[in-house]
Symmetry: C2
DNA sequence: ATCATTGTGTACCGATTGGTATGTTATGAT
DNA sequence: ATCATAACATACCAATCGGTACACAATGAT
């Protein structure tokens, strides 16, 4: 081979992910990216393709990590109720602790890109579907163990919890009083019985 | 006075609202606006100020109409449960019928602008709070009439319904199967007892 | 009829956009 | 040591961005 790369591709992608996450696609310029990633434009184009391909790679990296975190919280431990409580409250905590108030990269993309770009409509929808599948698996575990005995079917309940989580995440971007969010989490969790 | 305006200011603002609603702030150019509003740039600047001021005026027009619609559906008629059902299902219907898939202008703005612009953080938060107040009023009406006897307090329930509605609206931007959304609405409405 | 005032259309401004051509430097195979 | 290859930095490209200067047209008061 020939001259080797002087930058870490995965680290650069991680940097790009944080920039796109906090500013969105349109508001992020190539100059923002070169500055934040610490590399020049031709390096970006040779390693990742154009701006939109880089964005897609960054989003895929995010959703993979995000789904892994959901799995690790919801598919382990004894109590399913406790797991959901920890998961929802963890997301609330993270959101209020983020000074940049970025919310969820996937949700941001759903709002900004999905209506105009089918690729991102599909990509974001499939991530939320996967999240719903994880939720459903956790609920069914609770049903089998006898911890839960819910009236509605596990799938509908899981989807509703995903919807509620999306709503919480978006609402927190407007920085409502903490009690607003905390009370909502309490009420949402009453769905899991 | 002197020469009079040749365009209808309110109609131009309505046009601008639809453009910003479907494309967002960053992705909308002055050329998009002049083309869609049917007037030239200097006319925009003299009538509305700069791009961001026009955006704010458009958003205020939207939220006023949006809140009025919520009031008209939720604060009249006999059954509160039926009113919420009609309200939620109406929003689902509207969303799936919109070929542009614009969702809610206020929610779009919450995601795109609120984290970076305090003015829009406040503006969007206050609209959602106002919506929650309308919801709460409807719930309290149902409690007084004896139609409802909910375990949780009306305020928390109202806030949770707002959160759920935001989640639904955002989720629909990724065009999930209709049954996903319909089942979620059913489950969400079970909170109102 | 004249004049001050203000809306309209054109044409332009500097700055920034996403993207690339180019010359140079580093590397491994031969 | 030579050479093909590819990453590097610089400098550039046309196009578009938000915003405005300016000349002209229309209006009502005098």
């Amino acid at each position: 081979m020939v001259r080797q790369r002087e930058f870490d591709v995965d680290q650069a992608l991680e940097d790009a992910m944080h920039i796109f996450w906090s500013k969105g696609y349109e508001a992020t310029s190539l100059s923002d990216l070169t500055a934040g990633m610490g590399i020049q434009r031709p390096s970006i184009y040779s390693a990742f393709g154009d701006k939109k391909e880089l964005f897609e790679a960054a989003l895929r990296k995010y959703t993979a990590a995000h789904a892994a975190q959901a799995r690790s919280v919801l598919l382990h431990g004894e109590s399913v109720k406790e797991a959901f409580k920890r998961y929802f409250e963890g997301i609330v905590e993270e959101s209020y602790a983020d000074p940049q108030n970025r919310g969820c990269f996937c949700i941001n993309t759903m709002v900004e890109m999905a209506p105009h770009d089918e690729k991102f409509e599909i990509l974001t929808r499939e991530h939320e579907m996967y999240l719903a599948a994880i939720f459903q698996e956790a609920i069914e575990r609770g049903l089998r163990s006898g911890e839960l005995h819910t009236g509605v079917d596990a799938k509908s309940l899981a989807q509703t919890l995903v919807v509620s989580l999306i709503g919480l995440t978006v609402m927190m971007k407007a920085r409502p009083e903490r009690s607003f969010v905390d009370h909502s989490v309490e009420v949402i969790l009453t769905l899991i019985q």
